[in-house]
Amino acid sequence: MPLDYINRRDFLQRSGGGFGSVALAALLADEVRAASPQQTTIDPLNPLVERLSHVTPKAKQVIFLFQYGGPSTFDLIDYKPELIKLNGQPVPESFKQHNDKVGGVLNHCKDELMSGPWNWSQHGESGLWFSDLLPHTAQHADELCLVRSMYSDSSNHAPATYLMNTGSILSGKPSMGSWVTYGLGSLNQNLPGYVLLYKVGGLGGSANWSNGFLPAAFQGTQFRYEGAPALNLEPPANLAGVQRSTLDLVQQLNRKHAVQRSGVLDLDGRIASYELAYRMQSEAIDVGELAQETEQTQNAYGLNDENKNKALFGRMCLLSRRLIEKGVRFVQLYNAVDKLGWDGHDNNTDYHQRNAAQTDQPIAALLSDLKQRGLLDTTLVVWAGEFGRTPMMQGNNGRNHNPYGFTIWMAGGGAKSGQAIGATDEIGLRAVDQPQPVKNLHATILTALGLMPDDLFFETNGRQERLTGVAQSWKTIPGVLG
């Protein structure tokens, strides 16, 4: 019998003098029923077992390409001819008179607009515009679904990064990958359901892939881009020969111990977890064997490129495809190879050239590879940073953070491709056409996976918590899911 959530806690809460009062039941009835009949049921002995979605899904798996530092999207994928025209001009007065809710981004900028030095061209049948920073991604124009009117609730890295990953500007909430694996489990029981790949994470640290108040089974697990794919997968080399034999003794004594304590579920669970860990060793090591890939594939991802940073990010992209192939539910990559990322305060051109060069080819290769293997239809690929950057100059060639309007893109997994939704103003400063808060992006991703955002909840500290916040406070981004 599956327990409702794990380790007795909610079980106790529910079956013991819990909701005893008739008055309370009446009180709760409307709200709870309107939102959802019940919390997701987790089998504590098998927390990652595949669970049914609420409705028919368009996507089964997710790859989230997190763009740390805040990419300047109108230097990449949001063509702004007016900004180019106004290069070097003061900011028109009409843009200054605005009651922005989020802190003063403009104060740190010069009263001077700055366009990037890049050329723009249209690609594919869709005719989407790309700057020449992204020649490889541009070849996938007809597979991308751009949302050009995102906005964030903070102009500060850590809160905005938390928001993009967890739906809250404060740390401590479960990340999207945790929510998704909590809702759906995973397709492979021998690997973690939610895997992280990074050389450098996001500001705010591991809280960005925290399981928050959700059970630990849904925490993001780091896979390494080189060496042993995960920490502690194997013992130090000189213990390899005695690994199974030592484990056998543990299990033998554990079974004897458990028999004397029938009814303590955790003891059986722990015995099972050691067997799973043993299976994970071989399965995860196998995922990490990139040498199994053809040279052509390796080259496509840039693994042998002389740009070591590109090669490194290429490894992460290739690993993520292999993880998806193995059935891992949610894979997240961080683009940065140093602490700078896209955060071009002092030299925007330099930062963007460097980061585009590192990521463009591997990301394009990932899209091609997924498509060729028939995985793109069921894998939603998301490209997003925590915010964008200002069209105004900061310093001599920099751009400041801009939470008021920026672009993200999705591909595959049911996202209607070859289109751009929403728009910022003429200079790329603020989202004006169909502005989208981050929670709408989260709602869209959950919906693509067949999860109803309001039905995916967890009760803690007296509240029903959700990735998308208060029930019905979100909308899926219109047009993305067709």
């Binding site: 106790l12 401590g172 005695v242 003891l267 860990a277």
Partner: protein, 760 residues
């Protein structure tokens, strides 16, 4: 109406008065304190206005705002009613609740448990064996397993008071405070860093951690513990005159434990951040001391409980004057004077040289050598000065505090009506009566502290006794220790919860007396064995069916070690525990690629953090073999070994640890370099103690790790493993070390056993 009684000892007239007030009028919370701090707080209601002009509680006054917002069903909240004593308890017995031996006390606990079991047709379990009892008690009270000698001497002690003696020894151990401080640090979301982008080290936070350890070890009355944390600064006038006063200042570290984003001002997000800070303080105060969910009424009235949105902001208003301080002088007044004198002497020594220097011109060639010589000498003299010790804490910014407004839908950019500091409206909708203790502070937090730390408050004592119960049984009488509202769990044994709360107050809010009462009960001493081997007469399947979750406590619960206790046990049984019991946090080794999860750490490594201490400051390994409560808790980088075993987040108050069972835990405990190291140290220790005989090695290992001897079958399979692994290691070329390595393998296995990981 219940009979008035009983628990208010005649000599404590205040309690008796309070009881009578309660039983006759149901008037709550007029905010006067009952114990301690008499210098600051008097026993009289301080409200000068006639009672008639003040609005009454929601039970009696139709104009009470809560009554207007919600219908009467909200008033049925169980925790809103003052604790009462069930009729099954007679006056005589319970008039002696403070009996140090705890005998009558434990009879009451057992009787209240027994009553429910009898009603359910379930019999309680037999007492656990002595080996189980000493392990359970040692882990519960000190967070460490017993040493083999301790276990043996207890098992062999046949005196009638052997158990009680053990309880006293463990309660007197300094390890007790370290264990129970850790529980409290969870509740107050303690960390050593600021959080967010930079996550800077807080170099003085550890003083608060040590203060909590001291407080538990001293058995500081809980009401005093509350007052010190919320308003210690308002209780001390001028430099501290003694260590207790210094502790009151350190205690205000509580007000600083939330996250702080030093980059918020760069982006003009201070207003929003201040909103977050105040919300966090109000929510944490509500969760920690009252078991109320104030986070649920920040944007609108509470969805379930009789709390209004105004209540959230009334609570916030108590904190409106809070100013963070890293310069609270905790040097005692006498020492401070001495430091002043000493520094004045240093100044005197420097004065003639300074005078001479002032007459020289440093740019003149003939003056320059002498000028520079003097500068050097003066700098040397200056280093003789002593600076007083400081604490991280808070004070009010002055006699006035900024106004507090209710925010429309919780949005800080939409302030609406102003509110004054006030308690929970359902009990007292009036503005709190506040008398500043001095001219330079508002007195608001002291008023709040006195209201919380009052025997009249229906939540305070209950939340605390429930937390203590939870850590002795794995689950509280109320399963949701931070939520005593409608959406939380109901008490499984309300009479017992109330009885404990009242006894706790009557016993001077003594937590050690509470422990004593609980652990001396027969209920606590039961076996956890659901199969009930040895008792014979029970139908365990039937009980398992009737009460599978053991709500009624017909047996003890099997409990998993938490992260820190696991690590501390590994240190302890391997004999490598460093006995450091205070001071700056220690930084253990963490693999570099994990540290890269937080770019702020990289910035520090390159020296780019401008001295803000954003980094990870690894200590030599011997210095990190301290109890886990002394390890650095960095918000952006929890220690991976601990995190694997359900370390809680430090953003919000943690009521109860998760105890999940997942494969990464197996990988961590079985394969990690930390674990293998402990296994090897343990093997060396066992070999040293037991000599070369494999059988006595197995015996010694079991006694160290599991406090018992192996049975025949266990011994056989362990010996078999030693033989096989010795051969294997020999084959792999470890000629001289083969036997030790085989023993290490066996140690590794034993440290991974469920029996090591779970307390019966």
């Amino acid at each position: 109406m219940q009979r008035p009684s009983v628990f208010f000892r005649p000599q404590t007239a205040i309690s008796l008065v309070a009881a009578l007030v309660f039983f006759s009028t149901l008037v709550f919370g007029n905010g006067h304190a009952t114990t301690n701090e008499k210098a600051v707080v008097d026993d009289q209601p301080r409200d000068a206005s006639p009672l008639a002009q003040r609005m009454g509680d929601a039970f009696t006054d139709v104009n009470n705002p809560i009554r207007k917002i919600f219908d009467g069903e909200r008033l049925d909240l169980w925790s809103l009613k003052r604790p009462t004593v069930g009729e099954s308890i007679s006056i005589n017995e319970n008039s002696q609740t403070t009996d140090v031996a705890g005998r009558l006390v434990l009879e009451t606990i057992d009787r209240l448990i027994q009553k429910r079991l009898t009603d359910a047709g379930i019999a309680s379990s037999a007492q656990a064996d002595k080996r189980t009892l000493i392990r359970r008690l040692s882990f519960d009270l000190t967070g460490l397993p017993p040493t083999p000698a301790e276990a043996q001497s207890f098992v062999e002690d046949s005196s009638p008071k052997a158990y009680e003696k053990l309880v006293e020894r463990l309660l007197d151990s300094p390890r007790y405070g370290e264990r129970w401080a850790r529980h409290w640090l969870d509740v107050v979301r303690y960390a050593d860093t600021e959080g967010f982008e930079r996550d800077e080290f807080r170099p003085l936070a550890w003083q608060y951690r040590d203060y909590v350890i001291r407080s538990f070890n001293q058995d500081k009355p809980y009401d005093q513990f509350i007052r010190e944390q919320l308003a210690g600064d308002e209780l001390v006038n001028g430099p501290p005159k003694n260590a207790d006063e210094a502790d009151k200042l350190i205690a205000t570290g509580f007000l600083r434990l939330g996250q702080w984003d030093s980059t918020a001002p760069i982006f003009q997000e201070e207003v929003r951040h201040r909103d977050q800070q105040l919300a966090d303080l109000a929510n944490t105060t509500g969760s920690a001391f009252l078991g109320l969910t104030f986070s649920c009424c920040q944007c609108h009235d509470h969805k379930y409980d009789p709390l209004s949105q105004a209540d959230h902001f009334r609570l916030r208003a108590f904190f409106a004057g809070v100013t963070p301080r890293n310069d609270l002088v905790i040097e005692l007044a006498d020492d401070l004077e001495e430091i002043g004198k000493h520094n004045a002497e240093v100044d005197e020594e420097a004065a003639p040289l300074k005078a001479e220097q002032s007459k020289l011109d440093k740019d003149k060639n003939e003056d320059q050598p002498r000028y520079e010589e003097l500068s050097k000498t003066l700098a040397e003299i200056e280093t003789k000065k002593r600076s007083p010790r400081m604490a991280m804490g808070a004070t009010d910014s002055g006699a006035d505090a900024p106004a507090t407004h209710v925010f429309y839908q919780g949005d800080f950019s939409q302030p609406r009506e102003e509110v004054l500091p006030g308690f929970v409206s359902v009990l007292d909708p009036n503005p709190a009566v506040i008398e500043p203790p001095r001219a330079d502070t508002t007195g608001r937090r002291l008023a709040l502290a006195n209201w919380i730390a009052s025997s009249d408050n229906p939540w305070t004592a209950r939340t605390l006794v429930n937390r203590v119960w939870q850590h002795h049984f794995g689950v509280g009488l109320v399963a949701t220790a931070n939520d005593f509202g409608f959406s939380g769990a109901r008490p499984t044994n309300p009479e017992l919860l109330d009885w404990l709360a009242i006894a706790f107050i009557n016993d001077g809010w003594s937590i050690k007396k509470l422990h004593r009462a609980i652990v001396c009960s027969a209920t606590y001493r039961q076996t956890s064995d659901a199969a009930r081997r040895g008792t014979g007469s029970h139908d365990n399947d039937q009980y398992q069916e009737k009460d599978p979750a053991n709500h009624l406590l017909w047996r003890q619960n099997v409990v998993r070690l938490d992260a820190e206790t696991l690590r501390d046990s590994l240190l302890s049984v391997s004999g490598s525990l460093n006995t450091t019991d205070s001071g700056k946090p220690r930084w253990p080794h963490v693999p570099i690629d994990l540290l890269h999860a937080q770019p702020g750490i990289l910035e520090a490594k390159d020296g780019g953090d401008g001295g803000r201490m954003q980094g990870w400051y690894e200590d030599p390994i011997e210095e990190t073999d301290v109890r886990s409560v002394f390890l650095a808790r960095k918000r952006a980088m929890p220690i991976p070994f601990l995190q694997a075993f359900d370390l809680p987040d430090t953003t919000v108050s943690c009521a109860r640890r998760d105890t999940t069972v997942v494969a990464p835990q197996a990988l961590m405990l079985f394969n990690s370099p930390e674990s293998i190291r402990f296994a090897l140290i343990l093997a060396e220790r066992v070999a040293e103690e037991a000599g070369v005989d494999p059988a006595s090695r197995v015996e010694t290992l079991f006694r160290r790790a599991l406090s018992r001897s192996p049975d025949t079958k266990e011994k056989a399979i362990c010996l078999d493993l030693l033989r096989r692994h010795t051969d294997q290691h020999r084959m792999e070329g470890a000629e001289n070390q083969a036997e030790l390595l085989a023993l290490r393998d066996l140690c590794r296995a034993v440290l991974n056993l469920n029996e090591f990981m779970y307390i019966d």
